[in-house]
Amino acid sequence: MAAEKKADLVLLDFWVSPFGQRCRIAMAEKGLDFEYREEDLANKSDLLLRSNPVHKKIPVLLHAGRPVCESLVILSYLDEAFPDTPQLLPPLSAAGAGAADAAYARARARFWADYIDKKLYDCGSRLWKLKGEPQAQARAEMVEILRTLEAELGDRDFFGGGGGRLGFVDVALVPFTSWFYSYERYGGFSVEEACPKLAAWARRCGEIDSVAKHLHSPEKVYDFIGVLKKKYGIE
């Protein structure tokens, strides 16, 4: 049976990338074995350049040699290509739910994953790149973003979704929890104070195997940002 589970999956990735981590966690949740290949972003492999000629970015998932690019596209693909694995999105054929209800829950999950993509990484980058007023602006925005996400979470344990505990939005967001410490240090705020429920959600996720296995420590992420700053000549 183990052999049947072995799909031909290769992930081209970069260790600290939250977008890559989404894919790693999703495959772990689904019990899918995959080969992880670390890319040197200063010296991209031929395989990466051939597989994602348009953007030349990671992550790229190769399934039986065919590339899937863009992390959220990869998450949807994993659900659809492996329908017998725990689903990230609430399934359409959920027992008892009308088609419209299930579709609505899926639309909601996609909306919030899109929100995370539109807002979080860019705002975080501004926090560590900028100073003075623009940085203060970025901090205010970051707190707003996190509070908005917390409001969507409500009193639930997880944003939820399919059959497992972690749903589409949880997987989309959880890699960024390793960046919270850096956001706090650069932004001068506390996630625990600003949005305690989201902080609790982050801790809860951290106890799940697939997450614990694939996230890096906040300190490591902080050090990585320090290296980036030196590289770009940012004080």
């Binding site: 348009v54 399934h63 065919r66 899937v68 690019c69 863009e70 596209v73 990869i74 949807s76 693909y77 659809e80 290509a81 359409l92 009308g98 088609a99 419209a100 299930a102 579709a103 609505y104 899926r106 639309a107 996609r110 909306f111 899109d114 929100y115 908005t148």
Partner: protein, 234 residues
């Protein structure tokens, strides 16, 4: 059975993001009420339905809001799976379609914003046009790849990428007037130019795709005056 509950679409007649939803509603022959939103005076319903972004399109289905145009398109496919689907059924082909749709809303969108709303000088505008040209050349390749020689990205009939890109054609008419040539240039991107002609002629596009360049350019002036280019989908 789904379909008995009312559909209401909050939008603007010019918006590429709204138009793609209308194409799909037409494709699926789904009746809906269209509510034209005023950029300068957004309705209470819009603000309540999309508090996070405060943008159009918003699809209300039996009163429940669905936001973000590509999310709406997938919702329509899922609620009405027996009407012509916009996404293909094969998971890999769906991933390819989603990839190109994301590309359009990244590169084409940025260039369009640049050409019409963010360029302050002729040079900046020319640069934005060059960006559009580059993106459209990439899409020329994508069209050949996705269509396999058939008329549309979706094959024999229009699909996800067709409606996502097709929504911009209204503004492309205005851009043509502004820059003195078709943005999708038959000399540079012949397949895409032929695709544009075919798309404009589809039943789904007829009646909703704007073709009055002057009217759109007038709308653009109003939008610029409102300082709207950063905050709303046009």
């Amino acid at each position: 059975m789904a379909g008995d509950d009312e559909l209401k679409l909050l939008g603007m007649w010019t918006s590429a993001f709204v138009l793609r939803v209308r194409f799909v509603l037409n494709l699926k022959s789904l009746p809906y009420e269209f509510v034209e939103e005023d950029l300068g005076d957004k309705s209470a319903l819009l603000l309540a339905s999309n508090p996070v972004h405060k943008t159009v399109p918003v699809l209300l289905h039996a009163g429940r809001p669905v936001n973000e145009s590509q999310v709406i398109l997938q919702y329509l496919d899922e609620v009405w799976p027996n009407l012509p689907p916009v996404l293909p059924s094969d998971p890999y082909e769906r991933a390819v379609a989603r990839f190109w749709a994301a590309y359009v809303d990244d590169k084409v969108r940025l260039a369009w914003l640049g050409i019409l709303f963010r360029s302050k000088t002729e040079e900046e505008r020319a640069e934005a046009v060059a960006q559009a040209d580059a993106a459209l050349e990439t899409l020329e390749g994508a069209l050949r790849e996705c269509s396999g020689g058939k008329p549309f990205f979706g094959g024999d009939s229009i699909g996800f990428v067709d409606v996502v890109l097709g929504g911009y054609l209204g503004w492309f008419t205005a851009i043509r007037k502004l820059i003195g040539r078709r943005l999708i240039d038959p000399a540079r991107t012949p397949a895409l130019a032929a695709w544009e002609d075919r798309f404009r002629a589809t039943e789904a596009a007829k009646g909703v795709l704007p073709d009055d360049a002057d009217k759109m350019l007038e709308f653009r002036q109003t939008a610029i005056a409102l300082g709207a280019s950063k905050t709303i989908t046009l």
